[in-house]
Every structure is written in C-alpha cells, then in structure tokens.
C-alpha cells in the first residue's frame, strides 16, 4: 500500500491500523522500533530485557489501539507506554542485584557486555558516530548511565526519541521548566565527561 509506505504521519498510520490495515502497523514498527529499543536499553541497561520490553511496548499498542484518538500525538503515547514498562522493570530489578555494565547478559556462551555493545565499532553502531573514538563513545555512555534516573529519562526522551520538551513534560508528568532544568543538568554532566577530549575542543572552536 503506497499510501501507508509514504509520508503518512504516525497518527494517520495508527488510525489506519485501527481500521484494520495491518501494513500500517508494520510501518509504525519499522519507523520506531530502533528508537524505542535504545530508550529502553539505556533505561534498563540489559539488552535481552530491553528487547523483551520493546516487544511488550508494541504489544500494548496493539491491545490498546482502539483507545488511540486521532488528535493525540502518537509518539507521546508510545513513549508513555515505554516509560511505564521501564519503570515496572526497574522496580523488579531493584529487588535483584543490579546488572552492571560488565555483567554478561543472556546466554553465557554468547555473552555480550552493554559497554561493548555501544563502544565496539561493529555494524550495529550508529554510522554518524563512527568518526568518534571508541573512548569518547564509551565516556558518553558512562556519563549517561551515571545520570540520576529523572535526568537520564529526560535526556533519553530528548536525544533518542527526539521529543520536544512539551511532550516530555506530558510523558513524565512534570512541568516543562523542570524538564529543561533536568536536561540542563544532564548536558552539564556530559560536558564535564567530554571536556578532556580533543573532539570536544574542536567542536568548541
């Protein structure tokens, strides 16, 4: 269906899916599964768990498709679901031992560290950051992971999901100024983490 594959908005695709056009849902998954996975991954920091939660996010979308209103923003709705599921998982994880970046995940024979996932210049890594040294990328990830939960949440919604501050405020349930304040703290932390690198110095010029 050409119309579905074209420039239709997320909201229009969701309405079409409500009418029974399954291809519209396929297009929505294709558009957003990567960003949702990264958001969940940075929140939970466990790749296998992030994969399951990402699948759950889209399943919730399927189950509650009839409740979606055309006037609503699809991304706000999608990331509200993702955030709620992440909070549930973090609560469950808090009862266990926290998975560290160095803890092997999944199959012990095929274990992969989260730190390796983002720092290793493998084909999965984002192409636009290939020019950056693995050391810089590792520092960025560590800086983000070390952020307080509320600041990290805002940072990820802004940088990964590309949501405007107004929508982030709606998702997180706090004021827009609070969101900006948290974002400012997060950026300051990141700036401190990057201040020793040459790339940052070049960007400053």
């Amino acid at each position: 269906m050409a119309a579905v594959q074209g420039d239709a908005s997320d909201e229009m695709l969701m309405v079409r899916y409500q009418r029974g056009e399954r291809k519209a849902f396929v297009e929505l998954v294709r558009r957003h599964n990567r960003a949702v996975y990264n958001f969940v991954l940075r929140q939970l920091r466990v790749p296998a768990l992030a994969e399951d939660v990402t699948q759950d996010v889209f399943m919730r979308l399927v189950q509650n498709a009839a409740e979606f209103k055309h006037e609503a923003r699809f991304l706000t709705w999608l990331y509200t679901i993702a955030r709620n599921l992440c909070i549930d998982q973090l609560r469950k994880l808090s009862h266990r031992r926290h998975a560290s970046l160095d803890q092997p995940q999944g199959d012990p024979n095929n274990a992969q560290l989260l730190g390796d996932t983002v720092s290793d210049p493998n084909p999965h890594a984002s192409a636009e950051h290939s020019a950056l040294s693995s050391e810089v990328r590792s520092s960025i990830v560590k800086a983000v992971d070390s952020l307080p939960e509320d600041q990290r949440e805002v940072f990820l919604l802004r940088e990964v999901a590309s949501l405007p501050f107004r929508d982030i405020a709606e998702i997180t349930g706090v004021g827009e100024n609070t969101v900006k304040s948290r974002m400012r703290y997060a950026l300051d932390r990141l700036k401190d983490a990057l201040s020793d690198f040459e790339e940052y110095a070049r960007a400053l010029r």
Partner: protein, 385 residues
C-alpha cells in the same frame, strides 16, 4: 534580551524550539555577551560531540513484534473486537465533517418540513393600495402651487390626507353636482383636494399640494396606516360616494378627536355640511374652521366661506374674506380677481339698480303726464290768438 532570559531559553535555542524572532534575538545577544556566548557554544559542542550513539535493534526483533501482533489479533476476544469496531465507528461518527454534514441535512429537512406545513399563510396576502389612481379627467384644473413643491415622497403615502379644496376645483365639483352624475369614477367625485393631488402627482399638486404641505406639518410624518387613518379613509369614502350626511358626521368626529387629520376633517366636514344643508348653515362652519386652523386649511375655509357669501348675496362679507385672503401669497392673485369680480358685480348691480330706478322714474313720470290729459281730454288748443 538579557542574560537571565537567555538562560531560560538557551535549551530551546539549542534544540531549535524557538520562534524565529526570539531565536534571532538570542543570537544577537550571544554576539555581544561573552558569558552567554560561552554557555551557548558549550552546550552546542556537547550536543554535537556527546550525541548518544544508538545501537541497532537486535535482528529479528521487528519480526517477533509482528508475529506477536498477528497472534494477538487472532486471540482477541469477540467482545473486544466488537468494542474496537464500535469505537472505530464512534470515532468516525464524531469527526467534524460527519457532524457538519448531519447538521446540514437536519437543517434542510426541517426547512422543507416547516415550509410545507404552512401553505395557508401565503394564501391570505392582503394588498392595500395606497393613494388614488391618476385620472385624465380634463375637468381637474391644476392650480399653481402656492409654496415650493414638497417632496414626492411626502405626497405619495397618503393622498387622502392631503389638501383642502381649491376654488377652481370646488367650481368643478359644483358643476358636477349640477350635472347629472352617473356615478363618476372615484377620483372625479372625490374631494377637491384629492382631485388636485393624485398619487404621485407632485407636479400636478398645485394649490392642493400647497395645502398639503401645511397639513403635513400638523401631521408630523409619513406614518403607517393607523386607526385614525382608517376613520379618515372611511369618511372620505362616504364623501366620494355622495353620502354627505355620513361623511359630515365622520369628519366631525375626527375633527373633535384631534390628531393629524383634524384640520382637513374639519374642512371636509364643513363642505359636507354645505352639501347637506347649504350655504346658510355651512358658511359659519367655514368661518369656524378658518379661525381654528390657521394656515392653508384656514385659508381654504375662508375661501369657501366667501364663496358661500357670494352665493347668498352677502357680497360685503365675501369681499371681506377675499381681502383677508389677498394677504395669503397662495390666494393673493385669485382673491384680487375675486374682489375685482365682486366690485364689477356690485357695480353692475348698482348700475342695474340705477337703471331700474331711472326706468321706474320714467315710468312714473310718464304715468303722471298721462293722468291730467285723461282728466281734461277735450281741452281745445288755443287757436287764432
């Protein structure tokens, strides 16, 4: 823009969420403020270099999601499927386009229903003709107007409430009275004022319109038909139909009640009285109208009174009225003519009287001369002396 405001909007500037004007103001501020410039460039560099590297979603995640969706759709209970369908229908029905279309259809339907339900209202349309149709009757002589012509719009609405009779027109009316009247058309039999002022006849209004202008002063404005209008119309109708007694009664009632038609009603009432009882009774009524209603109606009444006096042979009183009217610009010429005519008439009468006297004297003298002769008829003439 100051530094405090810059601090509030710096993140919006960084993520391009500002409008163009504020963004330009922030950039101008950065050019002049080293502190804010350092903040802005530090944040921009942090964002450029510190962009979080995204990892690709695991292979097979998309496929797993789609498979799960397919299974979920199959396992969806019938109730939930129906609920989804109803929800879909409801959301579709609540769309503005559907609502507007429904409202439009409702309006059209209700309009058709109500239009069809009230045909009777359209069947009883009453049209009231205002004014008197124009006539080509040559007997109606238009008297030159005495004052500037009133606006046609003031004439048209109520021609009946118009003017007092003019002398020439009154003559025409009298002539018609004498002639056998085969029920003339309404206009020809109408009051002199109406004859002189048919509907829309502003130019033909003449003196009647002159009177009308004064009448309008008392009338105030062109009011819609009221009870007084109806009464006046009824009285005029009676007058036109020759029911002078009824007309007189109606006109007298209108005059006694006052109002915009009172002056004309008084004048027409006096005229109707003249038709009923003749000039001996009507002349005092004309005088009363003359004294009560100054202006054109009063002048018309004075003229009518003078006419009555003439017909009664009271030429001195008639002359007195004409002399008064000669001060009225609209009657000046005619009054002088009437006075001259009266004088001529008086002179003729005097001459006739003198002739009659002379004739009588001659007759008497002749009779005197004949009497002695008759007493001594055989007296011989002296002869031979």
């Amino acid at each position: 823009m100051d530094c405090e405001k810059f601090d509030r909007i710096v993140l919006d500037l960084l993520y391009e969420e500002l409008d163009e004007l504020t963004s330009a103001a922030a950039r101008r501020h950065m050019e002049h403020c080293a502190r804010c410039r350092a903040i802005g460039s530090g944040l921009r560099a942090t964002r450029e270099v510190g962009a979080l590297p995204l990892v690709e979603a695991p292979e097979g995640l998309e496929l797993r999601i789609l498979q799960a969706e397919e299974q979920a759709a199959q396992l969806l209970p019938i109730g939930k499927r129906l609920g989804r369908g109803l929800s879909l229908l409801a959301s579709y029905a609540m769309r503005p386009q559907v609502s507007m279309a429904a409202l439009l259809m409702l309006m059209i339907g209700s309009s058709l229903f109500f239009l069809r339900a009230q045909p009777g209202d359209r069947e009883h349309v009453r049209v009231t003709e205002r004014g008197v149709p124009e006539t080509d009757n040559e007997a109606v002589t238009i008297i030159p107007k005495k004052v500037e012509a009133p606006e046609p719009a003031r004439v048209a609405p109520h021609p009946v409430a118009a003017a007092a009779p003019s002398p020439r027109v009154e003559e025409v009316a009298q002539r018609r009275e004498r002639a056998p009247e085969p029920k003339p058309e309404p206009v020809a039999q109408a009051a002199p004022a109406q004859l002189a002022a048919p509907a829309g006849g502003a130019q033909r209004g003449g003196a009647a319109l002159g009177a009308l202008s004064d009448d309008k002063e008392s009338e105030g404005s062109n009011e819609p038909s009221t009870d007084s209008d109806a009464s006046y119309d009824a009285a005029m109708a009676a007058y036109r139909d020759g029911r002078y007694s009824e007309a007189q009664r109606r006109f007298d009632e209108i005059a006694s009640l006052g109002g915009p038609h009172a002056a004309n009603a008084a004048l027409y009432g006096a005229q109707a009285l003249r038709r009923v009882s003749g000039c001996p009774t009507a002349a005092p009524r004309f005088e009363e109208v003359h004294s009560r209603y100054p202006g054109s109606v009063g002048s018309d009444a004075a003229w009518q009174a003078a006419d009555c006096y003439r017909s009664l042979g009271e030429l001195a009183r008639a002359r007195q009225n004409y002399e008064q009217l000669s001060a009225d610009p609209s009657y000046k010429t005619r009054a002088k003519e009437a006075i001259a005519e009266l004088d001529q008439r008086v002179a003729d009468q005097e001459q006739a009287a003198r002739r009659a006297t002379a004739a009588a004297a001659a007759t008497a003298a002749a009779a005197k001369g004949k009497a002695p002769a008759a007493a001594s008829p055989a007296k011989p003439a002296p002869s031979g002396n």
